[in-house]
């Protein structure tokens, strides 16, 4: 297939996912880095994607500055939940795949094509996912230039693709906030898709703080260390990151007094 970067890598002997495959018996589950809460939701100008910054292995906090909301190109973002080693590799493959396609075929890969590429990688990874050493359940969000809309998709660890209408969540802390999102969207002051940027950002901070309250593997906000979640916005002009300063002031105004 023309412009297929993964195919090119395979011809050179690269195999995605296979290195992690096996029955996983030799690996203690607590040795594997895990844990996350990621969410994506619609707002007035497009889609907001946010993720906490903690990576855990069993009871241990491995790292508190993980970036789980990763830009794949100027118009798409993948938020990752699951085994970071596999997830980062996926992001790297996707990033190069989209660039390679654009540069060889002299046109952008369509939004559907990008979604398909994510599914295919997850499918290649099934063996590792089932063995427990490489399970990843990402959220993919991006701007579709053909339909002029920002969209949210989420995946299970086997590569099934689902389109989220208003919001999507993934990771160990996601059950906590899924109910809140449903409640907000149905009976809140306004539906999620009518929120302004600031309202949506403050809401995302509240949601991640709630997830951290009940899930030890989610980081939430650490004000002593000045650590805020990663919040990215996808609009018709592409992906942008909400500055830490903005998150800080929104947190102080609208989140901290309630907890």
């Amino acid at each position: 297939m023309q412009g297929d970067f993964l195919q090119l890598l395979k011809e050179q002997g690269y195999q995605f996912g296979a290195a992690h495959a096996g029955d996983g018996a030799g690996v203690m589950r607590s040795d594997i880095t895990f844990g996350t809460t990621i969410l994506a939701m619609r707002y007035a100008d497009g889609v907001l994607v946010a993720g906490d910054r903690r990576a855990t292995a069993g009871n241990m906090v491995m790292y508190d500055r993980t970036d789980k909301v990763l830009e794949i190109d100027r118009y798409s973002v993948m938020a990752i939940a699951g085994v970071p080693a596999t997830a980062y590799e996926m992001v790297r493959v996707l990033e190069h795949s989209f660039k390679y396609y654009r540069r060889t075929q002299l046109q952008e890969l369509s939004f559907e094509g990008k979604l398909r590429a994510v599914s295919k990688l997850l499918k290649d990874n099934v063996a590792a996912a089932l063995a427990g050493t490489g399970a990843v359940a990402p959220i993919f969000a991006g701007y579709d230039p053909d339909q002029e809309a920002a969209k949210i998709f989420f995946y299970d660890i086997l590569g099934a693709e689902f389109e989220a209408v208003e919001y999507a969540v993934s990771g160990s802390g996601s059950p906590v906030i899924r109910g809140i999102l449903h409640y907000l969207n149905t009976w809140g002051a306004k539906p999620l898709s009518a929120q302004t940027v600031d309202e949506a950002t403050a809401q995302a901070l509240r949601l991640l703080t709630s997830a951290a309250e009940f899930d030890s593997a989610t980081g939430g906000v650490n004000r002593e260390a000045n650590l805020y979640p990663v919040v990215k916005l996808i609009t018709s002009s592409g992906v942008s990151r909400v500055e830490e300063q903005r998150l800080k002031s929104l947190f102080e105004e609208q989140v901290s007094r309630h907890v």
């Binding site: 970067f5 660039k99 540069r103």
Partner: protein, 279 residues
């Protein structure tokens, strides 16, 4: 009969002659640094001549489109595999040129039973910092050259020499703005294109007055007449499409390559340099 060394040298000589002929009607390419990046300029008919290879790497070519396409893919594959397996900062123009293009092109040129690549290629590499840009050019026989500040592709040595001479006088890679560099690059293109036109054997101009043709060729070597350059650009603009690309330090994201649209060019170029047919 090519087993004899002399015959082989003769055959390679014939090849040079044949290849030089192939480029005669080709459109030159100009690449030059400016304060915030690199500008690449050319005129094309139908097939584009400027392409993106990697985050900081642009490709420009003269010659046969099929050959250029083949080598472009070689570069794309090498660059992306390297960028993935190592890191994007390990993808450098010099290595792609030395390990990828040069051996392939040289081998094809010297295997006299096979067809050579009809190509001249320019790679422009945006430096990590301003002032560190690199330009690499390779000829159809595999000889390549690394320069800084600017680089050109032209049909003949004379065309390339006059373009370089013009750039040496006019270019200011450290301080010039995008608009200034764009205008200067277009004029440089016209210098090369005019020299190539004079070299054409079937050209209608030389027979008019051989004396003036002689003096004009001397003049073009010294200082080309700006009015003639502008006039030439105006007529070319009606026949061919202006292609402009920048590699810009300030562009968002990791890919620094961006083609300039017709609307942007209108804002950057003085009206007498704008291709007439396109306004």
């Amino acid at each position: 009969m090519y087993e004899e060394p002399y015959r082989w040298v003769e055959a390679v000589g014939n090849r040079r002659h044949y290849l030089d002929e192939q480029f005669r009607k080709g459109s030159p390419v100009v690449a030059a640094s400016y304060a915030e990046g690199i500008v690449l300029v050319t005129f094309s008919r139908g097939t584009p001549k400027l392409y993106e290879i990697y985050d900081r790497l642009a490709f420009a070519g003269m010659g046969h489109p099929a050959d250029l396409e083949k080598l472009r893919f070689t570069l794309l594959e090498m660059a992306h595999v390297e960028g993935f397996n190592r890191s994007p900062s390990d993808v450098t123009g010099a290595r792609l040129m030395k390990n990828g293009l040069a051996p392939t092109i040289k081998q094809a040129f010297e295997e006299i039973y096979k067809a050579p690549f009809i190509v001249k290629i320019l790679l422009a590499e945006l430096g990590v910092k301003a002032g560190r840009d690199t330009f690499l050019t390779i000829n159809y026989d595999g000889t390549f050259e690394e320069t800084h500040g600017w680089a050109v592709l032209g049909a003949s040595d004379d065309a390339q020499a006059s373009m370089r001479a013009f750039l040496k006088q006019e270019a200011d890679p450290q301080r010039a703005s995008l608009a200034q560099t764009l205008s200067m690059s277009l004029l440089t293109w016209a210098v090369g294109s005019l020299v190539q036109r004079e070299e054409e054997p079937d050209s209608a101009i030389p027979e008019q007055t051989s004396a003036s043709a002689e003096s004009s060729s001397q003049k073009s070597a010294a200082a080309p007449d700006p009015a003639a350059l502008r006039e030439h650009l105006r007529t070319i603009g009606t026949e061919m499409t202006l292609e402009c690309v920048i590699l810009g330090h300030s562009l968002p994201g990791s890919s620094k390559y961006r083609p300039l649209k017709a609307g942007e060019l209108a804002g950057l170029l003085p009206s007498d340099l704008l291709p007439a047919a396109r306004t």
